[in-house]
């Protein structure tokens, strides 16, 4: 049973990624990225790391994909149609898709035929409190640095996109 789930999720990740790369419109690319990331989160759940999966969904898909979509919408105009000019590349794109599917089929055949025991040791229940304790003790410095990094990113990003307003020459009413 886990094998089928694993294959299905891996398939989702790979096919979404290929679709995201080859999509005609940038927006479809972002949607493909979102599906791919959700597939990765599913793989995390299969590996027993549910908390990481939720973290991935809320940060990557919930925030990063939104950012990407938002930026695409802001810088649209001609930029979204770049790929249209390269129509002769259709053969190459089909080739990549076929290669991806073949790779998936080979992986699937290998997993199902060769009696590889994916038998993982029974997953002992990992308590989240342990994770929290670990975060607060061994990784405390890294956590603080991450916080500073987040702050720096926000400040830097806001500074980058800040629009300089020209000084009003007559500020009579102010």
């Amino acid at each position: 049973m886990p094998d089928i789930a694993f294959l299905a999720l891996s398939g989702l990740v790979i096919i979404s990624a290929i679709f995201a790369l080859e999509a005609r419109e940038l927006i479809y690319g972002a949607v493909g990225l979102a599906f791919s990331l959700i597939g990765v989160a599913g793989l995390f759940i299969l590996l027993g790391a549910e908390y990481v999966a939720m973290f991935q969904v809320s940060v990557y898909v919930g925030a990063v994909v939104v950012l990407i979509l938002f930026t695409i919408m802001l810088v649209r105009r001609e930029s979204g149609r770049i790929l249209d000019e390269e129509e002769p590349g259709r053969l190459g794109r089909a080739g990549i898709l076929v290669a991806g599917l073949v790779a998936l089929a080979v992986a699937g055949a290998v997993l199902l035929l060769v009696p590889v025991s994916l038998g993982a040791p029974e997953f002992p229940h990992v308590s989240l409190q342990e994770l929290g304790r670990l975060l607060a003790s061994s990784y405390a410095i890294a956590l603080v640095i991450l916080g500073l990094l987040v702050g720096a990113t926000i400040v830097g990003g806001l500074t980058l996109v800040k629009v300089e307003r020209e000084e009003k020459s007559t500020g009579a009413t102010q």
């Binding site: 927006i27 479809y28 908390y51 939720m54 969904v57 809320s58 939104v66 989240l128």
Partner: protein
């Protein structure tokens, strides 16, 4: 290949497998209560409830003719919407819109999987249930943005952008407001959080947290006083402008499903879930409290004016966050006073 064919089960095994799945408890839970049927019927019931309550607040009567006191009005609405022609603008992205409308419906239903409607009446008792609910809710803004964009119309895009800003801004106070609860119980499991409230509901020590969560939930649900994305006098219907027929029904129902699920979440987190004097069965208590919360939200819709968008965003990013942090401080004070034995069973 030979191994694969040998591993395929025989037909009668497949039938018995399907029968076993259908009668299994999890499947029944998913389809009936507390799953699909429960959420659907409650969402439809909430549309009726809202129209009646708002009508009374506005000194009129509301739906009256479809059944006793208009109780079958949601069914009439659904039938009408199914038979409506699905018209999209010519340049709109039909595939994207249909996909996103369907996705919205599925996303709205997703958090209900982790919410306990009674002792043991939960579809998926996840140890990270709370984070799962919030992770699913963080997916809403992107879907709404895609609908607004794919409609290829100014009103929809603006509505989608406003909705995105609003929901993203209020996600963070929501995350912080439940931090107090997590500190007091030490678990993210929703069932355990409900069980921990046996002596005292969390709404009492976490008043600030409840207030912040309630406000943030109002903003996430796009209800007044935060319903700018739906401001009828400004944006026609916001991001739902270009949806019609079945996609519109999906978007509309998704909003009310979200309302139901958020009310259920608030009941589970703050109002003690299914605890109550043992006169009625536990799920009934849960539903009573949920509908009470939903009614309060509906009454607020009828009574408060709309908030301006910049005040709305500023409140979400700054003031509510400070209140939520104050709530965390209160909780830390409670713990250091040694009062957290109340919530440890």
């Amino acid at each position: 290949m030979v191994t694969l064919l040998q591993a395929a089960p025989a037909p009668q095994e497949i039938i018995s497998l399907i029968l076993r799945i259908i009668t299994s408890r999890t499947f029944l839970e998913i389809v009936f209560f507390p799953g699909f049927l429960n959420v659907m019927i409650s969402a439809a019931f909430l549309t009726w409830l809202e129209r009646k309550v708002i009508a009374r607040v506005q000194l009129r009567i509301g739906p009256l003719y479809a059944g006793f006191s208009g109780i079958f009005q949601p069914i009439a609405d659904g039938v009408k919407l199914i038979f409506k022609e699905t018209i999209f603008p010519e340049l709109a992205d039909t595939k994207l819109l249909m996909l996103c409308a369907l996705g919205l419906m599925m996303l709205a239903f997703a958090p209900a999987v982790a919410i306990p409607f009674g002792e043991g009446l939960v579809i998926a008792n996840m140890d990270v249930g709370l984070v799962y609910v919030f992770a699913v809710m963080s997916l809403f803004p992107s879907v709404i943005l895609l609908i607004g964009w794919g409609s290829n119309s100014k009103y929809s895009l603006l509505g989608g952008l406003r909705s995105l800003f609003q929901q993203v801004a209020y996600e963070i106070p929501m995350w912080f407001s439940v931090l107090g609860i997590v500190m007091l119980t030490g678990t993210l499991n929703l069932t355990k959080i409900v069980e921990a409230q046996q002596r005292l509901w969390f709404v009492v020590p976490q008043v600030l947290g409840f207030a912040v969560f309630f406000t943030a939930a109002l903003a996430e649900l796009e209800r007044t006083p935060f319903d700018l994305p739906e401001a009828e006098t400004e944006l026609v219907m916001g991001w739902m402008t270009e949806l019609s027929g079945v996609p519109f029904m999906m978007g509309f129902l998704a909003m009310y499903t979200k309302l139901y699920v958020m009310s259920a979440l608030m009941t589970a987190l703050f109002l003690g879930g299914w605890s109550g004097p043992g006169l009625l069965p536990q799920p009934v208590w849960f539903l009573l409290k949920t509908f009470l919360v939903a009614s309060v939200i509906v009454v607020i819709r009828g009574t408060f004016p709309r908030v301006r968008v910049d005040i709305l965003l500023r409140t979400g990013w700054t003031r509510l966050l400070l209140l939520a942090l104050a709530n965390v401080f209160v909780t830390v004070a409670l713990i250091s006073l040694g009062l957290d034995w109340v919530w440890r069973i």
